[in-house]
């Protein structure tokens, strides 16, 4: 145990008048490290002690304004930048809608930071180890008396003189208050078995609860009720249909989007198809882009990026011809469409299932562009 140290002299007064007068005298004598004590705030004590005005209101002002500003920035970023939200034809940054929240955030930020600033910064609380705690002095002040305590750290402090000074001011009693430092062992105890045991217990309990919550609790009602619905899921068994399959086959003749059958069944009559099929898609930068994308994806492995047959698969596969030959340049669009749709001579496969109809026509446009680019003065140009 270290030694007791004199913290200060604590004087008790029995009326508010006396304590105010005493505080004025103590301040007049030049003491700075002292405080007056009362279980309610007494008017006039601040000026008697010559205290400066508190600056806490600035905290409120700054924090409150930042609350409003942060709210505006946040709403702007979330609803106009990160995920633009179109609501009722309002602009993305619909600031009048944010006014109520700007106000709320001013109050919230202002109030919370004022309270935290008061307790932590200004009053340096929590502090239950102050020497005045648990003294007779504190008990009396808490009840119905008033007090002044001058600290021994004050330069003008002298135990006997200060005691006499306080008694002369009309103190009921003057007590010495001692500071009893408590020994706190700062030795590291990381390997202490108790500490390790505690860590293990915490780890086991928290992982067990997490496991149970996520793997068990979420699977019982009411949390699971989203899953337990009275409807048939595609993979589930049906007690209603005789074949016991939940998912029903589409009605005969159902057509998937983008896969309307061709007006002429090209495989039936090749010559007619090649003659009469006309490219229904008008060329546009977008169509060319789609054509390029699809050509590069589906055709270039065999035909090469420029349709010249110089491809990545060369030598590993029957080499496709260059599409820049005169006959192919003069061939109608229908031929290309037909080849994409049905494949060619059993060597080139059909792409009907991979590529929707409109995109096939886009590829045709792209092939035409490639042909023109390779040979601007080809036969079809005449």
């Amino acid at each position: 145990m270290s030694e007791k140290r004199l913290y200060g002299l604590a004087a008790i007064f029995d009326t508010p008048e006396k304590v105010v007068a005493a505080a004025r005298a103590v301040a007049g004598r030049g003491f700075t490290k002292y405080d007056s004590y009362s279980s309610y705030p007494i008017h006039g004590l601040d000026s008697a002690m010559r205290l400066k005005r508190t600056r806490i209101p600035f905290v409120t002002l700054v924090a409150g304004l930042s609350g409003a500003v942060l709210l505006v920035l946040f709403t702007w970023w979330t609803n106009s930048v990160d995920f633009p939200l179109a609501i009722g034809g309002k602009p993305y940054f619909a600031w009048p809608d944010y006014v109520p929240l700007m106000f709320e955030m001013t109050v919230l930020f202002g109030a919370v930071s004022t309270v935290i600033a008061l307790l932590v910064v200004w009053l340096k609380l929590p502090r239950n180890s102050h020497p005045l705690h648990d003294t007779e002095f504190m008990k009396k002040v808490s009840k119905d008396k008033f007090g002044i305590c001058i600290e021994s750290d004050d330069p003008g402090f002298n135990e006997t003189e200060t005691r006499r000074f306080l008694e002369d001011l009309g103190a009921e009693s003057v007590d010495s208050v001692y500071d009893e430092p408590v020994d706190i062992s700062l030795k590291q105890k990381v390997l202490d078995p108790k500490f390790i045991a505690a860590i293990v217990v915490v780890a086991v309990v928290s992982s067990a609860t997490t496991y149970l919550a996520l793997n068990k609790m979420l699977l019982i009602r009411p949390w699971s009720s989203l899953n337990a619905q009275f409807k048939v899921n595609p993979e589930s068994r049906s007690r209603f249909y005789s074949d016991g399959i939940g998912m029903r086959p589409p009605v005969t003749g159902t057509v998937a989007r983008g896969h309307l059958p061709d007006p002429i069944t090209v495989s039936d009559n090749l010559a007619a198809a090649e003659k009469y099929l006309v490219n229904p898609v008008l060329p546009s930068p977008h169509v060319m882009e789609v054509g390029q994308r699809d050509f590069n994806t589906y055709c270039s492995p065999c035909h090469g990026y420029f349709a010249d047959g110089n491809s990545r698969l060369q030598g590993q596969f029957p080499s496709p011809p260059s599409l820049h030959t005169d006959s192919l340049r003069l061939a109608p669009d229908g031929l290309y469409y037909n080849v994409i749709t049905n494949g060619f001579q059993g060597v080139m496969p059909s792409y009907a299932r991979q590529i929707p109809r409109k995109e096939r026509w886009a590829i045709v446009w792209y092939i035409r562009a490639l042909q023109k680019a390779q040979n601007p003065n080809g036969p079809e140009a005449k």
């Binding site: 004025r24 309610y40 705030p41 806490i56 995920f83 109050v107 109030a111 004022t114 929590p126 009411p222």
Partner: protein, 465 residues
């Protein structure tokens, strides 16, 4: 009844003493701390058993709701909101009187608030807690409530800041936070007094932790008082904004009966009115059960009754304005809603509401009524009934006859709706009872400050040396 009370002569030209009988500072400590130190009376346990039973009923009804879903309630399209949101608005409104008493009256230097502020603030906090339950459970899947909090999530979505329902969440949670801090800051010096007087080790530890080591030092009081004023200044506009925003939940929609610009002030006035009704109910019980008649005096009740009367008139004005605007706007839908309210399926509720909120409070013009505790208690209960009905009528009668006659629907509450209603009253009064047993129900430090001779500038002859 003694003759002294019946022939009581009140001289309104003189400010009545804020505390009757001018008790000493020590006596204030003793009598306010007494309920927390003594084993409670049979009366207390009787009251607690009633409120706990109500709470249990609510818990069962809520359990059913959570397990089977909100299909247990009577709500069905188009009446998608009914008891749930009625209770929400009702309880938020109750809370507002507490803030009014603690913050607004504080700013106006109404020192009579001292005796009742603590209890009223506690009431605010409990009421907001009760209110908070309802938006949660009316979601049906309360665990999805966090979707309304703007945190980054796997959907890449943010909340819609244009929606009053989002404002509502922010307003109510701000309100709760600020009220709680206001209340706690006010409690710190009292907790320190409790710490210094208790003899029990456990209690002392609890009070030490809660009082954060407050020392009653003037260098603490100096900042503390400033912060108290600041918080009051922040809470005052806050309380007005909260119920305005709650009213936006309705007013921003296009439903006849909801879509009116009078809603924000109307809701705020209604909130203060119902809140004062509830403060009267609670304080009359507390002063009786804990013998605090000399601190929560008849003068207090008298003044609260006057505020109640005033706000009742404001609510009455809104009741008149609603049909007037409906008629004056020439909108047949608006007018139809007004007529359906007063004559339709829910007409009884409407007229009971008018009686409780407008007609009965007129009795408070009489000084005799204001100072008769029993009558005042009955009136305060009727105001609670009336104001609960008001929210019910606003919500249900606007919804049950909407634009499409084919979807018209009569809403009938189920036993689970009533169960939760009973339960939430049980929760509120249980919390009030527990509070009055564990914490000082009146602010001791403030009360000391308003006793006779608490401040030296009265008769302070020798002060100026």
């Amino acid at each position: 009844m003694s003759s002294a009370t019946t022939e009581e002569v009140i001289d309104y030209s003189v400010t009545p003493p804020l505390v009757e009988g001018n008790p000493s500072l020590a006596k204030i400590n003793d009598s306010i701390a007494l309920p927390t130190e003594r084993w409670p009376s049979k009366k207390y346990f009787a009251a607690l058993s009633v409120t706990l039973t109500m709470l249990l009923i609510g818990a069962v009804a809520l359990g059913y709701t959570l397990y089977y879903g909100i299909g247990m309630w009577g709500n069905n399209i188009p009446v998608g909101w009914a008891f749930d949101i009625t209770n929400f608005v009702f309880w938020i409104g109750i809370g507002h009187a507490g803030t009014l008493i603690s913050a607004i009256l504080f700013l106006f230097r109404q020192r009579w608030r001292t005796g009742i502020a603590r209890a009223a603030e506690a009431m605010t906090i409990f009421a907001v807690m009760c209110a908070g339950i309802f938006p949660l459970i009316h979601l049906g899947r309360p665990w999805y409530a966090l979707f309304i909090i703007p945190v980054p999530n796997q959907h890449g979505l943010w909340v819609n800041w244009n929606s009053p329902l989002v404002w509502d969440v922010f307003a109510v949670s701000t309100y709760f936070t600020v009220s709680l801090m206001f209340w706690y800051i006010g409690l710190i010096p009292d907790l320190a007094m409790m710490r210094d007087r208790t003899t029990s080790k456990v209690k002392k530890m609890i009070y030490s932790i809660l009082s954060l080591g407050w020392r009653h030092a003037n260098r603490q009081w100096q900042h503390y008082e400033k912060v108290y004023v600041i918080l009051a200044g922040l809470a005052t506009p806050l309380v007005l904004s909260v119920h305005s925003i709650v009213s936006f939940d309705f007013a921003v929609s296009i439903l006849p009966g909801w879509h009116t610009t009078i809603f924000p002030p109307y809701f705020v006035a209604g909130a203060i009115f119902s809140g004062f009704g509830m403060v009267l109910t609670v304080l009359i019980i507390i002063r009786k059960v804990f013998n605090l008649e000399y601190i929560i005096t008849k003068d207090h009740l008298d003044k609260m009754a006057k505020v109640t009367l005033l706000t009742s008139m404001m609510v009455a004005y809104a009741y008149l304005m609603e049909p007037f605007i409906a008629w004056y706007s020439g909108s047949p839908f608006d007018w139809y809603t007004v007529v359906a309210r007063a004559t339709g399926h829910y007409a009884i509720g409407f007229w009971v509401m008018i009686a409780c909120n407008v007609l009965i409070p007129q009795l408070l013009w009489s000084k005799k009524v204001r100072r008769n505790v029993a009558v005042l208690f009955v009136i305060s209960l009727l105001i609670n009934v009336g104001m609960w009905l008001e929210r019910y009528i606003i919500i249900v009668t606007s919804l049950y006859r909407d634009f499409l006659p084919s979807s018209w629907h009569i809403y009938t509450p189920t036993i689970f709706d009533f169960g939760i209603l009973i339960g939430v009253f049980g929760l509120f009064f249980t919390l009030v009872l527990l509070f009055s047993r564990t914490l000082p129900v009146v602010s001791m430090s403030e009360l000391k400050g308003v006793t006779e001779g608490a401040h030296p500038h009265h008769n302070f002859g020798a002060g100026h040396e």
